[in-house]
Amino acid sequence: MKDDRDDDHDARRDGWRAWLSQARFFAEEVYSARYRGAIARARRDEDDLFMLLVFSEMMGVPNPASYYTLELQPLLLERFHDWHKRMGMERSPLDHFRCC
């Protein structure tokens, strides 16, 4: 008898939780859907600038932080191809840094 009531209670709580998460999902969609593109583009511009900083030494631009940015290069390798394409360069701009 007691178990039944607990089950009931659990079911109701789960139902509530599901409803709440649904509401949250809808609210977030409503908040973000319209500006998703604009914000993603702004973020991408920032990231592009960051890429330029990280790879600046290789392109002959002195960078006082190159000791640290060198460490970041392997981590950013995945984005390298998209980046140089977006910057209007068909191939990797760096002689000793091949990409595609």
Binding site: F26, A33, R36
Partner: protein
Amino acid sequence: MSAIVLLVIGLGAMALGYFVYSKFIAEKIFRLDPDFRTPSYEYEDGVDYVPTNRFVLWGHHFTSVAGAAPIVGPAIAVIWGWLPAFLWVILGTIFFAGVHDAGAIWASVRNKARSIGALTGDVVGKRARSLFMVVIFLVLLMVNAVFAVVIAGLMMDFSSAVVPVWGAILVALIIGQLIYRRILSLPMVSLLGVIALYALIGLGPSVPLQMPDAVGGMSGNAVWILILFGYATIASLLPVWVLLQPRDYINGLQLFIGLIVLYGAIVLMNPTMVAPAFNENVPEGTPSLLPLLFVTIACGAISGFHGLVSSGTTSKQLDKETDVRFVGYFGAIGEGSLALAAILAATAGFASVADWESMYSAFGQGGVTAFVEGGAYIINHGLGLPEATAATLLTVMAALFAGTTMDTGLRLQRYIFQEWGAIYGLDWMKKGVPATLLAVGSCLLLAFGAGGADGSGGLIIWPLFGTTNQLLAGLTLLVITVMLVRLKRPMWYTLAPLCFLLVMTVAALITQLRGFYNDGNYFLLFLDIVVLIAAVFVSLECASTLKRHRRDVAQQQE
């Protein structure tokens, strides 16, 4: 006559339009296909192209298209009595706006979700595309100038709303930070934001801030206009998540709350229509109803601005093609219901006909002030809220809508200047700040040039704004009609509204031309001529394109 009867007739007719007419249009004319692969799947990138739940998308579409314009237009147009405005809003929503909005989404979805401007270039021709840019620029110019004048007027008339309106911007800034930095969850933030906003509205009447009538040789109104443009300049240069996004969200919540409060109060109070059905006793200088009614109410009956939203963001996020009917057509119905509420508030919310007539003492008078005062009267008698608080509530609603439209409009205008800079190789014009300053400068010129040094006559350009808006709608309808002709489907359901719009727009422009000439207002006379030339070109473009395509289709059949 009871306002509830009118309310029921209006909403009933629009419901009928949705369940019967839009079904016919969707199934027989557009032939929406649930299996069509929409651009949101075809080009899904998680950024622009994202399949979105249709209720979410509807909420979006509706809150993007519904702003201050469906309040201001009807509230001005009731000067001819409530019946003409009522009929044009209801029939316009059913046969014009719904078809136009749904058609714009459909046309865009069937063409890789491209914007109506780009589609005009492809479907109609290059010349039409340039024309489109000019018309859009004129619309944006007028919308910014007019809305600055509207908000300035509200700030002068309702000093209790000054603190809540600017406080709401502060609330939006805080909300933006809380969400962007993931400090609090969105439902929590929404709740706190709404509480803060309504606390401000409650507080408003006890801390009125009245701008003096004259400040350093300028009228108070003019000072407000300058402050508003200063604010809009800064706001439009900020990243969208800082202010535009949270403010838009608050506006969306406000829109639904405002509509529920207004409709609820009308049902509970059951006011009688104080204003006459047809106003035989219009103030001197009021232009004739035909054709001016059809350009005074643009948003709320049909508005070209919706086509930009439909083909800009909505079409990229549409999940299934059959959702076009719900998102587009029902979005237009949402807007129609806002316009209906504005009509009822501006005609039933008065104690006597004399009160109403003193509000509408001249054409362009009354307007949104009548909406606020009438709405406050109804809310006060229906829900028991103090009249000052109710007036503050409605003022904040209208001012925030208009403010967001100014922000968006100025951004779009900046993009146009930047694009011109790119086309003509002017490097300085491609930068954000100079382009924004050019946009603001042109709007200020219009706001003050139209109405004299105090900027109070700026609402004279409202019908002119309507004409450009209708021209934009005409171009969108032309794109849809050409697509239908090419598909060998009936074209009269879009061609008839198109012809009607063009005839009314040209007639309104000519009527106004004479008015401006008689008044000696050469600035507006010039603007009117520019719009008239654009209108003539749009009409010629329509005739020649349709003739060409019909001939092509006929040749194919032989």
